[in-house]
Amino acid sequence: MKKSLIGLAIATLILVLLAYFFGGTELVLAGLERAFGNTKKAALMILASFLLIGQLLSIVDENMVSRTLKSIKGLRGIITSALVGGLFPVGPYLFFPFVKMFHGYDLPYYILIAFIFGKHTYDFARIPMEISLISHRIALIRYLTTLPIPIIAALITYLLFRNRTLAQINHRSTDSEVV
């Protein structure tokens, strides 16, 4: 968090300097004016978005997700897994250790792919932010066009790997390295 804030501050400073270099104080002020306008426009939406995200975070928990993933298979499993992935409201620091937990279970790779792609593509907690920071029209078109991505990814994975698990796939590569 601190690192990304510092990185962002440096990037912002560089752009402010660039604006000053290319257009002087006038261009810097124009940029700040746009920023202020966008902030004013999105402030209430951002507040509503975070209130929504907070509720979502406290409703969906790891146990619920884990229970669902272990009990599904087939096309219905792919769709459920993708949707549950989209509902799973945690960042990468918690998400990948959580996914790794399934290494020991007989969870097919295609279900895992549907879950991960669903998380990244749908991420329902991100919808309010997409709506408030970009536009509801773009958010809607983006969701509709990327809706099939986790399902297509999982179906391709099923065709390639059938019911094999992540552990089996990783062990096979380790075995071949040993040989």
Partner: protein
């Protein structure tokens, strides 16, 4: 208050009521949301300033020739590859994407950008490699690149159709 804000507030209220009835953790949810907002506020404000600067700095000729709907597949391709480079979280990335869109980028480009950032953003790779292995990263990258590009192409087609 815009209609979008009203809808978001209504959904938040509905989730609050649902949470109160099903789990009884509605206050925790409220506190979590506000804490998350406060924690992310510096990032949101900085990225909004950054986005404002992008809006005034980005050359219109560049947007028209490389990122707009007129740029066609080229714009989608740049969006797909550009998304990988956006190594930031949603609160920083989305204002930047917004500034690119406001500057005139096409819908196909924007969709490819968001899609490839969310699937392939370079900041995720170390976590994925560490927890799921290099083979998974390679497989996901190939799939993600193809599917993000295709999603961008669908967006571009919709734009050509006038949607």
């Amino acid at each position: 208050m815009s209609i979008t804000t009203a809808i978001l507030a209504l959904v938040a209220l509905a989730l609050f009521v649902f949470n109160a009835r099903q789990k009884g953790q509605q206050v925790t949810g409220l506190i979590t949301g506000l804490t998350l907002l406060l924690k992310n506020l510096p990032i949101i404000l900085l990225s909004l300033i950054l986005a404002g600067m992008v809006e005034v700095l980005i050359p219109h000729d560049f947007v028209r020739n490389w990122l707009s709907a007129e740029a066609g597949i080229r714009g989608v391709l740049i969006g797909t590859l550009g998304g990988i480079m956006l190594a930031m979280g949603p609160y920083a990335t989305l204002p930047i994407v917004s500034s690119i869109y406001v500057s005139g980028a096409g819908i196909g480009t924007v969709i490819a950008l968001i899609s490839s950032w969310s699937l392939l953003g370079i900041s995720k790779t170390p976590h994925e490699a560490a927890h799921l292995g290099g083979k998974y990263v390679a497989y996901k990258t190939i799939l993600g690149l193809i599917l993000s590009f295709l999603a961008g192409c669908v967006g571009l087609s919709l734009e050509y159709l006038g949607l």
